[in-house]
Each structure stands twice: as structure tokens, then as C-alpha cells.
Symmetry: C2
Subunit: 190 residues, 2 copies
Amino acid sequence: MDELGRLPGVGPKSAQRIAFHLLKVAKEDALRLSRVIAEVKERTMLCEVCFNVGVSARCPICSDPRRDSSVLCVVEDPRDIVAVERTREFRGRYHVLGGALNPIEGVGPEQLRVRELLARIDGEGIGEVILCTNPNLEGDATAMYLARLLRPLGVKVTRIASGLPVGGDLEYADELTLGRALEGRREVEA
Amino acid sequence: MDELGRLPGVGPKSAQRIAFHLLKVAKEDALRLSRVIAEVKERTMLCEVCFNVGVSARCPICSDPRRDSSVLCVVEDPRDIVAVERTREFRGRYHVLGGALNPIEGVGPEQLRVRELLARIDGEGIGEVILCTNPNLEGDATAMYLARLLRPLGVKVTRIASGLPVGGDLEYADELTLGRALEGRREVEA
């Protein structure tokens, strides 16, 4: 129960419930869980190019020749790659920073993979960098910091749009979001 | 209770609770509510210019000379004006359509204040129309319809941005919204 309770989103009650469940199930089911946990830790590694998680030195996206190597999407976390891939809107490659700037928690540029990002711009013929960090305080600060570093390198730097969610309603939007949606309005194409 | 139950968001239980509350309160409190309901219906009218609700022929926004008359924000409903005003990002004027296109419910362009909108473009020296209908199916369709009508008149037509809400998280964004946020990315200004 102590070990289970350390997992995110698992409180003492859930830990107890899971523990008793494991006592009750067939031995092979419990051992399968035990085995995959060990396997995940032994077999996974970070991609040497983009720092996505994978099972080989290069992740499936970096080793896919059909991906557009001229556009780079910078995200905080490997989970964010999953989110962007799900949209099927992006055919370029990624770079995982490993977090966002957060001075209070002691996360500065040295703790993120910023140096590795700058090295890729020179080496890979990248024409556009999309700053796809979260649209919150830390993510916005990280995007601004990176934009200032990247622009002198002659690369196009873009930021994902803030605005109203699809299917949303003006009435339920908070002021800040609606303000950004207005500020970020775009001319309607014919 | 029957009358109260017709209000939006008031179910039979709430109607009963309100009814018994009105029986209990002092006579002047109940009569004050009765009076303001009657007053609202007698005194309010629609602005003759933008169709916002107000207490005179011209609403406070249309009669304010400090508002920028060259930018027009087109909304579905007077409530949306309240939402946009709260952002303090917009200093132009409004036009209330009175709904959105909805063929299933029989709402076509004739049911909305489209003709009145077109008349204003000619008459008021408007340079930009911001289509601020809701970012859902009906609102998007209405925006596209209006854009097609307005562009030949030589006016700049813009649409509010769709994207991630401020303070949001990539992980919790739905695919459609994140896809639009990527598609609508903007170059970072220096």
C-alpha cells in the first residue's frame, strides 16, 4: 500500500483497494503487472535527437523519413507529443524540453534541453520552430525566452494560438482567454 | 410555482423553494421583485443602431463618442457584448445578430439582423468587422456566411482566434482545439 500510494492520483483509499485487488487476482495477472513495470524501466530510453521516450536510440518520429524535418515543434513533455500527434495536424518533428522555466522551483534554462535545441537549429536545416509549451505562466515565459534566443538564428519562430476552445461559448469564456481570442483574430480567407 | 418553473435553470424543486421563500419574506421585498420585472419589460428596448438592450433609442456604447466607430464586433446575443466588454480589449462598436444560422431550427439569414449589418457597413465608415460569433458549428457557419457577404464590400473581415484557453494545458486540450491552435499559430514578435 505504501508503494502504490506514491503513484500520482492514488490516495490511501485507492492504494488499499488496489492492494486487496492484487491479493485476490490470479498469480499470473499480478506477475504480469510486476513484469511490465520492470520491463518499462529496463527497455525505454530517451531519443538522442528529440528526447521523446522510446525503445531505441531514435524514437519512431525522428526515424520516420516521411516527417518534415524543416518544422520543429517544441514541447515541455513527451506526453505533449501524444497530444499533438492526436490532432493529425502536424507532420514535422519534435523537441522535448523536459519542463518549463520555473524560477520558484529552481528550473532555469540549464535544467531544460535548451542547448540541445539550439544545436539542432544549426545542424538540421530547420526553417520554423513552433513553440508549443503550455499556455500558462511558465509555458508562456519559456516560449518568450526561447523566442529571444531563436530569432537571431534566422529561424521563423511561431507560438500556438490562444483563444476560445472549439465548440465553446463566449458567455463561458474567461476574460483573459476572450481577450486573447480578440487580440489574436485573423483575417478570414476567401 | 408554475410561473417560476418556466424560468431557465429553475426546475420544479427550485420553483417550490422560491415560491415558499416569497410567501415568507416581507411584503415590500416581494413587491420590489414584482415591480422590477414589470419595469424591465416596460422600460428596456433594443438599440436602434446595434440592437443591444438598453433604456433609450441608442445604447450607451453607440452613444459614446469615445468608442472607435471604424471597428465593428458582430455578436450573436446582447450577453456576448457583456463578455467582450469585460475583457477591456475592445474599444469599437457592436452589432447584435440575434442568434446564429441554424437550418434545423429554421433560423436563416432573414431571421438574423444581416440586412441591418450590411446597411451599417455602407453608412458608418467601418474598416474592420470582427466576427465574434460562438466558435461552435452554428457560430462558425454564421461567420463564414457573413464573411462571404462582407468581403466584396471592401471591408476587412476577421474572426476571433480558436485555441487553448489561457492557463490551460496541452494534455487536457481536445484534438480539434489543439489542431486549431497549431493551425492558427502566429509568428512571435520581437
